[in-house]
Amino acid sequence: METFIQQVLAGIATGGIYACMALAVVMIYQAIHHLNFAQGEMAMFSTFIAWQLLQWGIPYWLAFGLTIVISLIGGYVLERSVFKPIHNAPVLSHIVIFIALFAIFNSLAGFIWDFTIKPFPSPFGNAPLFGGGLIGGHQAGMIIITLVVLLILFAFFRYTRVGLAMRAAAANPESAKLVGIRVGVMTGLGWGMASAVGAVAGILIAPVVFLEPNMMLSILLYGFAGAVLGGLSSPGGAVLGGFTVGVVENLAGTYIPVVGAELKLPIALFLIVAVLVFKPTGLFGQRVVQRV
């Protein structure tokens, strides 16, 4: 029983990271209807920025905040400079650009900070909490911070005017313009926020998977699985999907002997395929019905 609770809690902790990545993917998907393959690499790059700030002696939480701000601005600038010019271009152009960004961020990180694996500090430490060792300090911290981030985002989209404008711009760009919303700015802001959320995910998971240019590869895959499971049209669903993937991944790794630690990743792929076959809209997504 104790192992079970331990594994569930650990699953929720990593699930929070997947949820953040899933949410970042869905936020951009809602705005431009494409999956951003480079989301993970952007998050990795943000994490390297945080590491660099820490190396320069900036205190952890200040570096954390600065990285989020830098990622927000970076995401905005990236959308305005790279994606705005091609926003009417066909799917393939988008895919090519996503792959290019993936490669650029990956090799740029390797070029600047090299490919050796680096430890990344955790402000929470790793001492087990509650004596019993049910959950480690960093895991508890991950859960709390991801929940806070998700709550802030929820409140932002639900209760602020900018949040409403962003939802409107994503839902119906033409009508949004007709009520005076600057749709392009909103799309850029969506990218900024997505990359900021990704930065949080990267910084929190780095102490666990260690910092290196390929650290987010599998994380993003789990994030995709979460997003697909919850439904690409539902931010709330994507978050729930992310948590679910985290827990399922952990339990399967522990209780299904064949799976073990090595075969955890295919579970994400298996989930993606299963959802797409049996419920393509995901658990909470809406089927898009086009009136003709």
Binding site: R161, L164, A165, R167, A168, A171, N172, E174, S175, A176, K177, L178, V179, G180, I181, R182, V183, Q286
Partner: protein, 237 residues
């Protein structure tokens, strides 16, 4: 009366295909002007050209300033509310959120909640459905929502694209009664595009007839309504 909107030699095209061939018309302050014409005559295109949703050339003066080179979002900021073809509902958002969006360009405090209450008093049926997803509304309700959203801007000029489209005759009557009410009580100028000529002429002060992208005929709505030959040859009723 001074003109709220003054349009001279308005041209617009979709790609290489020219749709408007130099339209001239005016909208007097506080009046209702209607653009009539058959399917494909260029009525919707005219509205889209006025608020910068397609490329256009010519003179468009709104309250004495040129808006011919302005972006849609900026024209809206000047108080021009467009109730688009197909109603432009934000289907995944709630009715109340749809209304709030109409006031997006106003500053946050500025009596927005009070205006929402006023709209709800105007359209009681929207109030009943305030927290419902707007996509679940009926066609008539969505048309009311679109008009309500436009009013949330506190517009000086409303561009209405076929408010009767796809609605049952009784609902159409209701919608037009509301438009008459808005004209009476809020002093909003309107440019009304309609296929239902008899209804539009009843509400309007001035009418323009468009035929394949140019103005074929214009005059006070009452005169056009009473002119047998015009009715027979252009309006078909």
């Amino acid at each position: 009366m001074s003109a709220t909107l003054k349009v001279r030699n308005l041209e617009a095209s979709y790609g290489a295909f020219k749709v408007l061939h130099g339209l001239d018309f005016d909208i007097a302050e506080g009046s209702v002007t209607t653009l009539l014409g058959a399917n494909g005559a260029g009525k919707t295109t005219t509205l889209r050209a006025l608020c910068g949703m397609i490329r256009r050339s010519g003179t468009i003066e709104y309250e004495g300033r040129s808006i011919a080179n302005m972006k849609t979002e900026d024209i809206v900021r000047l108080g021009v509310a467009h109730v688009p073809e197909g109603r432009g509902t934000f289907t995944s958002l709630t009715v109340e959120e749809n209304l709030r969006l109409g006031a997006m360009t106003r500053s946050a405090g500025d009596g927005i909640s009070g205006d929402i209450d006023r709209i709800f008093a105007f359209f009681p049926r929207l109030k009943e459905r305030a927290s419902q997803q707007a996509g679940t509304l009926s066609g008539g309700e969505q048309q009311m929502l679109a008009i309500g959203r436009a009013l949330m801007l506190r517009p000086k000029l409303m561009l209405l694209d076929e408010p009767s489209f796809g609605l049952a005759p009784l609902i159409v009557k209701e919608v037009f009664a509301i438009l008459a009410d808005i004209r009476e009580n809020m002093g909003v100028s309107m440019l009304l595009v309609e296929q239902n000529a008899s209804l539009a002429l009843e509400l309007a002060d001035q009418a323009y007839l468009i035929e394949t992208g140019s103005i074929a005929l214009s005059g006070p709505a009452a005169e056009i309504r009473d002119d047998e030959s015009v009715r027979a040859s252009y309006l078909g009723y």
